[in-house]
Every structure is written in structure tokens, then in C-alpha cells.
């Protein structure tokens, strides 16, 4: 899966904007592994004192999980990913193989606190980054 990562240090909102190949602060990656976006939900459920059960859907969210592996990474790209991860606003755009076109930007937030880097076979020469993001403002 090809995807584009970009970020904004200001309050610029790209959510829903068409993909711009000439945008600065943007890099394209061919991910080693891209899990199709998963849907998850937060649900409040329980039982009232009168015995009635309740089930309330609080919100739903879409989760993006992808791996960028060492064959795509050098020090400059790792630096970009570091800036991307800690930027206040992060956006991704996905390439649709079926239509051979780029989708719109999607704003995402991270639930990870540490930069999610690991090293294949414990070799510092072979870094790998596994991002898990949630889409912002996704509704159904």
C-alpha cells in the first residue's frame, strides 16, 4: 500500500482536501504492511437498577496500522517520521490501487506515546516503524 504522510505545525487543516503531490513536509512510502483500516467502538453498557439492560454507542473510530520498514528508511526519512509523529496535526493520504488515484487527506491522531521504532533482529542498522493512528472526526 502506498501512502503519503504529511504534517502541519500550525492549525492548518487538510482533512478532506485533495492530495497534493507537491506539498512540502510530505513523504511517500510503500509500506511493508498495511492492515486495512479497522473499525472499533467505545460502548457504554450495563444494567439499570430496575433490571433493564442498556447499550449505548458512544463513538466509533477507524484505526490505521501500518509498518514502514528499513528498506525505505534512512536518517533523513527517520527524522521526517519523528517530526511527523510529534507534530500537532498529522494527515495521511492513501493510494487506491483500483482507481490508480490518491484519496483525500485524512487527519489522524496517535494513541502511542513513544515513537514506535523497533529494530529487526536487534540490529540498529535495520530500523522499522509501526504506526497506529486513529482517524479524527470519523462518523457513521
Amino acid at each position: 500500500m502506498r501512502l503519503a504522510l504529511t504534517y502541519s505545525l500550525t492549525n492548518e487543516n487538510l482533512n478532506g482536501n485533495p492530495f497534493d503531490p507537491n506539498r512540502s513536509n510530505q513523504l511517500l512510502f510503500q509500506c511493508l504492511r498495511f492492515i486495512p483500516p479497522q473499525q472499533a467502538a467505545e460502548i457504554s453498557q450495563g444494567r439499570l437498577l430496575n433490571g433493564r439492560a442498556f447499550w449505548n454507542l458512544l463513538w466509533r473510530k477507524k484505526i490505521y496500522n501500518f509498518i514502514i520498514s528499513s528498506y525505505e528508511l534512512d536518517s533523513a526519512k527517520l527524522s521526517f517520521l519523528f517530526d511527523f509523529f510529534f507534530a500537532p496535526r498529522k494527515f495521511i493520504a492513501l493510494f487506491d490501487q483500483a482507481t490508480q488515484s490518491w484519496g483525500n487527506y485524512i487527519e489522524v491522531v496517535s494513541t502511542q506515546t513513544d515513537f514506535p521504532i523497533s529494530y529487526i533482529e536487534d540490529l540498529i542498522l535495520l530500523p522499522e516503524v509501526n504506526f497506529i493512528f486513529e482517524e479524527v472526526l470519523w462518523q457513521n
Binding site: 504492511r33 492492515i35 520498514s69 528498506y71 529487526i120 542498522l125 535495520l126
Partner: protein
């Protein structure tokens, strides 16, 4: 990309017995010749599988095991030299340089065997890397002493990692071949 048709192999497959290795260090080189025939060397890819089932090669491990029929450990300084280089590796993380030789001897190797039986004119050297290579070669070694067939022998394990895909083996700095006349 040129087509490569591997036919007419008669008399064109060279025998290239490993004849020795050289480990460079700050104290000078350690050169060992005449390993046993079961010595071996291999390049192994480090791979990851992708989400569509393909396999991607990220790096290569180079490993060689050299068996030396040697048992005069007490009366020579071989083990002291190996320990000296090992301490250097502990300090630096890698050896200065490790070379593995196949076929006829290099020019500078005065004590190497001159005439090899049933070999041809190509010599090959595998360079496990030096400190000059940034980010992709980490040569190191370990050794063991084993008892086999009424004698002791030294087993030298050479090891290195190459990160960059070797897209140009023909021009690779890690394997180079020379015609004997060039030596």
C-alpha cells in the same frame, strides 16, 4: 538488463578452495592459511514478508566457518593474537577488516600456498568490511577450539552484516575477483 544464459559451462566453472583469511587490527594483521576442506561461507538474506505475501530482503549476513588443523596453542601466540583482536572488537564493536581468500594467493601474501591443485586462474576475495564503510558492514569473529579425530583444531567463525542491497554484485566492494596475471 542483459540476459544471462548459463550454458557452455564446460571448463568454465572454477574450483575456488578457500585458502585462508586475514583479520586486520591495530596491532597488525593476523593471516591464517590452509583451512580444512569442510570450511564454508555463505550469504544469507535477512527478510521480512509483506502484507501481500512477497518477501523483501533488507540486508545480508555473511558468515564463514574456517576449520584449521592446529593444535600448538601453547607454544605459539595465536590465541593471544586472537584475544587481542577480540578485545579490540569489544572496544570498537567490530574488527578493523576481515578478508577471506579463495583460489590463488594475493600478491602480498608471501607465505600463501603458491600452487593449488586443480584450481583455475580466478582468485576471489570476500571483504567482510572495514571501519571505513559507513552503516553497512560490521565485521567480527569468534573462535572455538574443538577436539575431533584424535586432535585439537581451531574453528574460526567470521561474521558481518551488509545493509545495502547488493544491487551491483559485479561492482560490489565485498567480492572482487582477479585474474591470476593481475596479482
Amino acid at each position: 538488463m542483459a540476459e544471462l544464459i548459463l550454458n557452455s559451462l564446460t571448463n568454465k566453472v572454477f574450483r575456488l578452495p578457500v585458502i585462508g583469511c586475514r583479520i586486520n587490527s591495530n596491532d597488525g594483521p593476523l593471516i591464517l592459511y590452509h583451512p580444512e576442506s569442510e570450511s564454508n561461507c555463505k550469504f544469507t538474506p535477512i527478510t521480512r514478508s509483506s502484507d501481500i505475501g512477497s518477501i523483501l530482503t533488507l540486508a545480508y549476513k555473511i558468515e564463514a566457518n574456517l576449520y584449521f588443523p592446529f593444535n600448538r596453542f601453547r607454544n605459539t601466540n595465536l590465541l593471544d593474537k586472537l584475544e587481542s583482536i577480540r578485545n579490540e572488537i569489544l572496544a570498537n564493536g567490530k574488527a578493523a577488516q576481515i578478508l577471506l581468500f579463495f583460489g590463488p594467493k594475493p600478491l602480498w601474501a608471501e607465505q600463501a600456498p603458491t600452487n593449488l591443485i586443480n584450481t583455475d586462474i580466478i582468485s576471489t576475495t570476500i571483504d567482510f568490511g572495514t571501519n571505513n564503510y559507513q552503516n553497512f558492514a560490521q565485521p567480527s569473529f569468534s573462535y572455538e577450539i574443538e577436539y575431533i579425530e584424535f586432535r585439537l583444531r581451531l574453528v574460526l567463525h567470521l561474521f558481518a552484516i551488509i545493509r545495502q542491497p547488493l544491487f551491483s554484485w559485479a561492482n560490489s566492494p565485498f567480492i572482487y575477483e582477479k585474474i591470476q596475471g593481475d596479482l
